[in-house]
Amino acid sequence: MGKLKYALFTGCTAKESTPEQLMSTYAVAEKLGIELIELSEASCCGASHLQDYDDFLSLVLNARNICYAESRGMTMVTICNTCQLNTAMTKHRLDNDEKLKARVNEKLAEVGLEYKGTSQITHFLYALIDDFGLDKISEMVVKPLSEFNIAPFYGCHNIRPSELQNESHKTKENPYNPTSLDDLIIACGGENVDYDEKNKCCGFHAELQAPKTAALLTGKALQGAMDGNADFMVTPCPLCHLKLDTQYDHASHAMGRDVKMEVLHMQQMLGLALGCSVEELGLKHHVSEITFA
């Protein structure tokens, strides 16, 4: 296997409210010998809200982001579930609708770009599983997480809608019984916790519009992991992470009981197992402080 090389679409959150996610992504990539070229030209994906306001603009901006992966001749790797969904959905719509593609390309031509559809778009979690391999990861583990019960939290936009998601990667994930993150936990030597909320919504996207609903969803997720006797949660999505890591007060209030959990990004969990330092993984940037590492 040659050296794996991807175009990294960081998304906005990794550059702002979850700096630890970007740090740990690079730390893990270096340990595994994966090269990540940052798409510095990329814009925000619209986070599933811009399309409510202006669907066509959202398509054009996402297509532009993909153009920069195409011009580098690389697969685009995302580290945010919502970036993944918005980008993959744009690709799906353009690849299956010549007229729409032509309309979008007409706009892109104004800035000298063309969407071709030549780059794959995959979340880092699936890139690791499909291209690098869990066996190889477990061989490289130097500090197995064998003393921990770890609750996976998948995040909606990596598993639904399944038809679209399963176009993007080889791992065939069923949204009602997903396994990828559980498999990564096991590869890191941890004990995976099974609980009802692992494939449910954290409420992030309605936090401002429907704060009570959002707080209840966060609360149920934290409660599920706590009652499943988890030591910490792990998620591939920085938006889920933000919600679970910072909103425990609102969640506790909504639930009528204290709910709080330490939550790691999947890159941080993997990094710990691969022997990265606490500093490299940015563990000090958590609001629900990390006490075990």
């Binding site: 702002e16 409210s17 306001y53 706009k107 639904r160 019984n177 309605a206 401002l208 609001v287």
Partner: protein, 328 residues
């Protein structure tokens, strides 16, 4: 000849049982059965009733995926019992399947639920054509093929309730119309013959009950047995709300969606702090200060003067200028 031999598997069904007239609490009863690769979940339910316990209750009618009566959940997965092959489910969940009604808390008897909330929401969106019909028309009321395509198959809904009871917001917010009602509303909003677009949209845009409370989890898209993709229609309704020039609620939700365009225009990326301020307003934003302070202490807040920008921002700005369809 193709090899299409029938296979058999031993499957344990853990079945939700509850009789609201006599039981204080529900319970689960196990039935171990040999199930062939040709049987659907409705066959299994029939056999439980016929071979094991005649009191087992469920709704069934057409057996052809049209009436929507036999919708249940298997291991939490929305399932139209007459369409879902039992072996297919064991491939996903293993050889122990949990058979439950669409909503355990609404169970009247076993799989039969009180679906009145579903029909109340359905009625609330005025699910019919509202049109001033000329009693003596001089020409037909034509709908072009292109115009009928705009319904995007929303008219195929069989009202089984799979998406409604899969929706986490329906579960938590009793005012929320839910995905099935939104699909129905869209079906008439997209109908060129309907004259009540504006009035219906106004109700669909209300906080609490309307489309803004959707959490975008895509459970509805996954649950629908007719592949109607309710969240796609919800997005269309969002777009319609912005396009209807007379609806300017100017609420948090609307500003939140528009705020992305403002932020991308300025930085290429999203300015998270500014988005919250713009959405909530200068006073509303204050309620976020406690969490923001905790985040600031952990280095999770980028101050305005340090806001990162996308490379080639001029390109992004040019595209926003040339490609924007909506105005706010």
């Amino acid at each position: 000849m193709e090899n299409n031999s029938v296979t058999t598997k031993s499957v344990t069904f853990k079945v939700f049982r509850f009789n609201s007239d006599t039981d204080y609490l529900p319970y689960y009863k196990e039935y171990k059965m040999d199930v062939t690769s040709e049987e659907v979940i409705l066959d299994v339910m029939d056999r439980i009733k016929w071979d094991h316990d005649g009191s087992f209750s469920y709704r069934r009618s057409c057996r052809h995926g049209i009436c929507g009566a036999c919708a249940v959940q298997v291991n939490g997965k929305a399932t139209l019992a007459c369409k879902m092959n039992a072996h297919e489910l064991t491939n996903i969940f293993g050889d122990e399947l949990v058979l439950e009604p669409q909503s355990t808390k609404r169970s009247i008897k076993d799989m039969i639920i009180d679906k009145s909330d579903f029909w109340e929401k359905h009625n609330a969106v005025h699910p019919y054509l509202i049109s001033h019909i000329d009693e003596h028309p001089e020409m037909e009321c034509a709908v072009s093929p292109h115009e009928s395509e705009n319904l995007m198959e929303a008219d195929l809904c069989i009202q089984c309730g799979a998406c409604h009871y899969a929706c986490p917001v329906v579960e938590l917010n009793e005012d929320f119309f839910g995905p099935a009602a939104f699909v129905k509303a869209y079906r008439f909003e997209a109908d060129v013959r309907d004259d009540a677009h504006h009035e219906r949209l106004e109700e669909l845009g209300q906080a609490g009950q309307g489309v803004w409370d959707c959490v975008k989890c895509f459970e509805c898209a996954e649950a629908c047995p007719k592949e109607i993709n309710p969240i796609e229609k919800i997005t269309k309704l969002h777009n319609m709300l912005f396009q209807d020039g007379n609806i300017r609620n100017n609420g948090v939700a609307e500003r939140h969606a528009v705020g992305f365009a403002h932020s991308i225009k300025k930085h290429g990326l999203l300015d998270e702090g500014e988005l919250v301020r713009y959405s909530e307003g200068n006073i509303g934003v204050l309620k976020h200060v406690p969490v923001a302070l905790k985040m600031f202490k952990k280095g999770k807040i980028v101050l305005p003067w340090n806001m990162p920008k996308s490379d080639k921002l001029d390109e992004i700005q040019a595209l926003i200028k040339s490609s924007s369809v909506s105005k706010y």
